[in-house]
């Protein structure tokens, strides 16, 4: 897609604005977005500022989202952008989707693969165990070791029952 203003450069900034209930979409290149002032609202002096700036090329901006509040601590996404830090653990649930592109940039990943706490971890340990067994099962089937595969399958069923059967 080419920039709708200069029709020369590829559009890298995709803006969605809701004005009086009417959705307005703009697709601009970096230069035109800067010249029209569309990028100014995002030029913030916080420790993560440079990350945000480099993110602009790929990020869709939804002004409505900026005003979404964390129900527990009252922090808005706009507050987060200004300071770079969250107000409480529930902010992560509230802003989960908006945060992902930022995490990809600063962490290179969006999925935790480390330690799982005993109590707060819920059924995550079991789910990870099931995943491991499924890989194992695939290998055994490929090697035609059906007796062993049957045992692994039983084990998976047992664990699935333990985790509440909510496996997708």
């Amino acid at each position: 897609m080419l920039c709708e203003r200069c029709h020369v450069n590829p559009a890298t900034v995709h803006l969605k604005k809701s004005i009086n209930g009417v959705l307005d979409e703009k697709h601009l290149c970096q230069t035109c977005a800067e010249e029209t002032g569309e990028l100014q609202i995002l030029n913030l002096g916080n420790p993560l500022g440079s990350f945000f700036e480099t993110l602009l090329g790929s990020m869709e901006l939804k002004p409505a989202m900026m005003q979404t509040k964390c129900e527990v601590c009252g922090l808005t996404f706009d507050d987060f952008r200004q300071k770079g830090e969250f107000g409480c653990s529930d902010c992560y649930v509230t802003f989960r989707e908006e945060l992902k592109p930022i995490l990809r940039r600063i962490q290179g990943d969006v999925i935790h693969k480390g330690k799982v706490p005993k109590r707060a971890g819920g059924t995550l340990s079991i789910k990870r165990e099931i995943e491991k067994l499924r890989d194992n099962l695939k290998e055994l089937v490929a090697k035609e070791e059906y007796e062993k595969a049957a045992k692994v399958r039983d084990e998976i069923k047992k664990l699935e029952a333990q985790s509440g059967g909510e496996e997708q």
Binding site: Y92, H112, G114
Partner: protein, 348 residues
């Protein structure tokens, strides 16, 4: 002045000990960031809330195992001492209300309460021994989690005030003494390579401070998407690479210019033995030289614990504590020089 008590006794024990790879690595450190579920993070909590959170956390910690301190209840000198001993961070000392620290009897494990996160569990080991430090931090983490509702998310892992600590909440670091690389202007090259591997290099006091005495802290940057063991292994590999480079340069210095390097480290020892006024920065630079001399077998090894202790004790708060009164800068420089001279004379 009263120098009957050995200054070595006032230093943090692990700082005097030499661990694995002790010729280059002073200490290894592991920090886990944890928070209580659905409670305001410290920066968003008022004093009353912070005090309440601190009470809840401290109630789960055994007094047999930890010394518990409310930071607003001790003097600013005591707080500075804790900072110089790496038990609390520089940010915490200016706004102590509602903050606290639990320190194990051997001082190898500390839990900062209400710093940027509700809990920062920190384990230290002398030398390069990251696995050991991680095991200790994990044990403390497990026992805290038995009694406290910790904020954890299946997708994001441990939830932290800054998304830069998200996931494992893990920061692993090693404190390195790199006089050879510094002397030969090789640090930019090495640190450039290290940052390519996703590591960060800082001065001795952590964020935003210059490196004194050729001491550098190398730590991981990313905390999400890899397991704790992988993060530790990556840092261990990077540190071993730096150790190899530092040793290569030390050997080259020794074989190509032994006289000039011996001259340099012995002159530094001479200044420490004779000077009447020494600033913190000069003391750390000279102690760094002497430490290098010891590691190159040019100066007697028995001096090492004293040098390691002096590296810590000649810092302002430790010196003031040792002297037992508040000191002006010039008087302090005089006492610093005196303490160093007398301690070195005891070893001679």
């Amino acid at each position: 002045m009263n120098t009957n008590k050995r200054i070595l006794d006032t230093a943090t024990p692990w700082m005097i000990e030499s661990g694995p790879q002790g010729d280059v690595v002073l200490s290894s450190r592991v920090r886990l960031a944890r928070n209580l579920k659905s409670r305001p993070f410290p920066a968003h909590a008022n004093a009353t809330e912070k005090i309440k959170i601190r009470q809840e956390i401290m109630a789960t910690l055994s007094k047999d195992k930890y010394n518990l301190t409310n930071l607003e209840e001790i003097s600013s000198l005591e707080r500075e001492l804790m900072m110089e001993g790496h038990l609390i961070s520089p940010q915490i000392i200016t706004d102590p209300t509602g903050r606290g620290v639990a320190v194990s009897k051997d001082q190898l494990l500390s839990i900062m309460i209400n710093e940027e996160d509700h809990l920062r569990i920190q384990a230290i080991a002398p030398g390069l021994d990251l696995d050991n430090a991680l095991t200790k931090a994990n044990e403390a983490d497990d026992s805290l989690e038995e009694k406290l509702d910790i904020a954890f998310d299946e997708q994001f892992g441990y939830l932290t005030a800054w998304p830069t600590n998200l996931g494992t909440g893990l920061r692993v670091s090693a404190m390195l003494h790199l006089p050879g690389l510094a002397l030969t202007n090789n640090l930019p090259r090495i640190f450039g390579a290290v940052s390519q591997l996703g590591m960060v290099v800082r001065g001795i006091y952590g964020e935003g401070t210059e490196a004194l005495g050729n001491l550098y802290q190398v730590s991981n940057q990313r905390s999400l998407g890899r397991t704790e063991d992988e993060i530790v292994k990556d840092l261990d590999t990077a540190v071993k690479h730096i150790i190899g480079e530092e040793r290569k340069i030390r050997e080259a210095l020794l074989s190509k210019s032994k006289n000039s390097i011996e001259d340099k480290v012995r002159r530094s020892l001479g200044v420490l033995q004779e000077a009447r006024l020494i600033s913190t920065n000069e003391a750390l630079a000279l102690l760094s030289d002497v430490r290098l001399g010891i590691d190159l077998d040019l100066i007697d090894k028995d001096l090492k614990p004293t040098i390691q202790a002096l590296m810590q004790i000649t810092r302002p708060a430790h010196l003031q504590k040792f002297m037992g009164n508040s000191l002006e800068t010039e008087v302090r420089d005089y006492y610093r020089a005196t303490v160093i001279r007398e301690e070195l004379a005891k070893e001679g």
